[in-house]
């Protein structure tokens, strides 16, 4: 049984719908620019504005990127069609959205979370984005109680891919991991910059709860989640809300709920008089999209090594745990190739991983420090010639200078690793200087070690290897 943070016996079931803006130059069905941040209503054309007589023509590169996403998620690319989803809203210029309905481009895929959990991907289909409404007057820019709205159609027609997972997510943490992993994939294949803060990736969660072994519960769709962190919080809140309702004898109403970051709760959107009947029908202005086997293979062959595979490779290279934070962080920064270079130059990949994680946050995927220099440093450590603390100092100098000979720098600072027997001597002195701390430590208070180690390090002028000191203290206590 997974620890999902819920009261005992309750299972959390979550499906995620992620909308991604594709990184094309132009819109999905017309040639005006797909660009964020321009003056309102400057990236417009007859199709975008839904002018009488306008007709859509499909953007080839958008299809290419949509296929990259599907294939990276292990989907099958199928012949697909477009449908009209009809509803009235001011930011929807034709009063219908062109989307894919029962014949989407990509189907039946999956995504592996770090740690090995498999989340099924039902489909990843293409559709167009709407314009943007801003509400004025009233309280706080919310639509209820506003006086009027202003509409900007720059975003209308931007290509989207909607990725729908199976309801396989079982914890809020898995949801976060799913979104993070998805994001890494989207960026890796060049399909999108996938930034939730900028709206180029939007995430909705379908949340339900049930007792283990029972039928699926009624789900609620949670919208307006603007960060990965909020996603987790919203799911946790909603799950508890539903449990409260069910445990007090109520039923869950299937509805869309709005996450409010400020009060940390989900809220019902105002009930509509008629639920929307979208009257889907095949878009008569477009024709079937059926990428041939050659095109699909070309896209597949051109996919880069995906983040999951890169994590596995780096774990093998460095001996670190594939699911560790170090591996995740370094791969995300794109610094795994650098570590390979360090290894190629004769360095210790494991030590390199530690340093890169700790000290290379600002370096991007092409660190300035030559790989051979870092390699040399890790060799000194491995051979016991430098303690970790000393190596860190040397590294600091090397980073500032953009390179250097670690042995020379160490020598110039008078660094040398100390003999174990010499360290034993410092430990004796340290225990003598801190009898109370030693007593506490021997009695089982692990925290007391800190004071002892501190004293010993000072006595050795920092030259003692902290790991060795710790090991000696432990030995003496236990032995």
């Amino acid at each position: 049984m997974i620890d999902n943070g819920l009261p005992e016996g309750w299972e959390l079931v979550v499906g995620l719908e992620v909308h991604v803006e594709l990184a094309t130059k132009t819109k999905l069905f017309s040639g005006s620019p797909n660009r964020f941040g321009d003056e309102p209503n400057t990236n417009i054309d007859p199709v975008t504005l839904g002018l009488p007589g306008a007709l859509p023509v499909l953007n080839e590169h958008a299809v290419e990127l949509a296929m990259r996403i599907g294939l990276a998620l292990n989907c099958t690319v199928k012949p697909s069609t477009f449908h009209r989803k009809n509803y009235f809203y001011p930011d929807l210029s034709k009063a219908y959205q062109i989307t894919q309905y029962d014949e989407p481009l990509n189907v039946d895929g999956f995504l592996m979370l770090p740690g090995g959990v498999r989340i099924g991907v039902e489909r990843a289909h293409m559709e167009e984005d709407t314009g943007k409404s801003t509400h004025f007057g009233g309280a706080g820019g919310r639509i209820h109680g506003s006086d009027y709205s202003l509409i900007d159609f720059n975003r209308a027609g931007v290509p989207l891919v909607e990725i729908v997972s199976h309801p396989d997510v079982r914890t809020a943490e898995q949801a976060r991991q799913y979104v993070n992993e998805l994001r890494a994939i989207l960026v890796a294949v060049g399909a999108s910059d996938a930034k939730m803060e900028e709206g180029s990736m939007r995430c909705d969660a379908n949340v339900s709860v049930r007792k283990y072994g029972a039928e699926l519960g009624t789900r609620c769709e949670i919208k307006n989640v603007n960060s990965v962190r909020s996603l987790g919080k919203a799911i946790e809140y909603e799950a508890r809300r539903q449990i409260d309702v069910l445990e007090t004898g109520g039923t869950i109403r299937q509805e869309t709920r709005h996450w409010d970051e400020t009060d940390g709760r989900t809220h019902t959107l105002r009930a509509k008089v008629d639920a929307n009947d979208y009257r889907y029908f095949l878009e008569p202005d477009l024709v079937m999209l059926a990428p041939d086997a050659e095109w699909v293979e070309r896209v597949r062959a051109a996919l880069p090594v995906l983040p999951a595979a890169r994590r596995t490779n780096l774990a093998v290279l460095t001996g670190a745990d594939e699911d560790s934070e170090a591996i995740a962080v370094v791969v995300e920064r794109g610094q795994d190739t650098y570590i390979q270079e360090v290894k190629n130059a004769g360095g210790d990949a494991g030590r390199a991983l530690v340093w890169v994680q700790q000290s290379f946050a600002e370096e991007g995927n092409a660190p300035r420090l030559p790989a051979k220099d870092l390699a040399a440093l890790t060799v000194l450590e491995r051979d016991g010639k430098l303690t970790a603390t000393q190596a860190k100092t040397v590294l600091g100098d090397m980073l500032e200078a953009g390179g250097g000979d670690p042995a020379a720098i160490a020598a110039s600072k008078g660094f040398e690793a100390l003999d174990t027997s010499v360290i034993e001597g410092f430990v004796d002195e340290g225990i003598a200087a801190q009898p109370d701390a030693w007593a506490k430590y021997c009695a089982g208070e692990e925290k007391a070690m800190g004071a002892l180690v501190g004293t010993i390090m000072k006595l050795s002028k920092g030259k003692a290897d902290g790991k060795v000191v710790t090991a000696i203290l432990q030995q003496r206590r236990n032995g």
Partner: protein, 100 residues
């Protein structure tokens, strides 16, 4: 006269299509539309299970365009034709409820 379509149906459809029609008109349209549906009942008994729907007269596949920027419309010309515009954007009254 068969009743394929009631006034309530017509009122609902009018709402769905955002057409504000009077009660008298609802009555009139109901009669006319019901008459039409009656006439259209000739297809009710056709055996169509094995027939493929036909949505497009000339079947084409993969009509695509290159991802190349084209000139945009002039914003002033477009907003000049708008019923209400402000700050470079189209102005509308607020929605009474969420419609998405």
């Amino acid at each position: 006269m068969s009743e394929r379509l009631s006034a309530a149906d017509v009122a609902k459809v009018a709402r769905m299509a955002r057409l504000n029609i009077s009660a008298a008109d609802v009555e009139r349209y109901t009669q006319q539309l019901d008459g039409m549906l009656d006439h259209f009942a000739d297809i009710d008994n056709l055996q169509l299970a094995d027939v493929q729907p036909m949505t497009q007269p000339f079947p084409l596949v993969n009509v695509l365009r290159a991802d190349v920027e084209q000139p945009c419309l002039d914003r002033e010309e477009v907003l000049g034709a708008a019923p209400a515009a402000e700050q470079g954007r189209f102005r509308v009254p607020p929605s009474g409820g969420e419609d998405e």
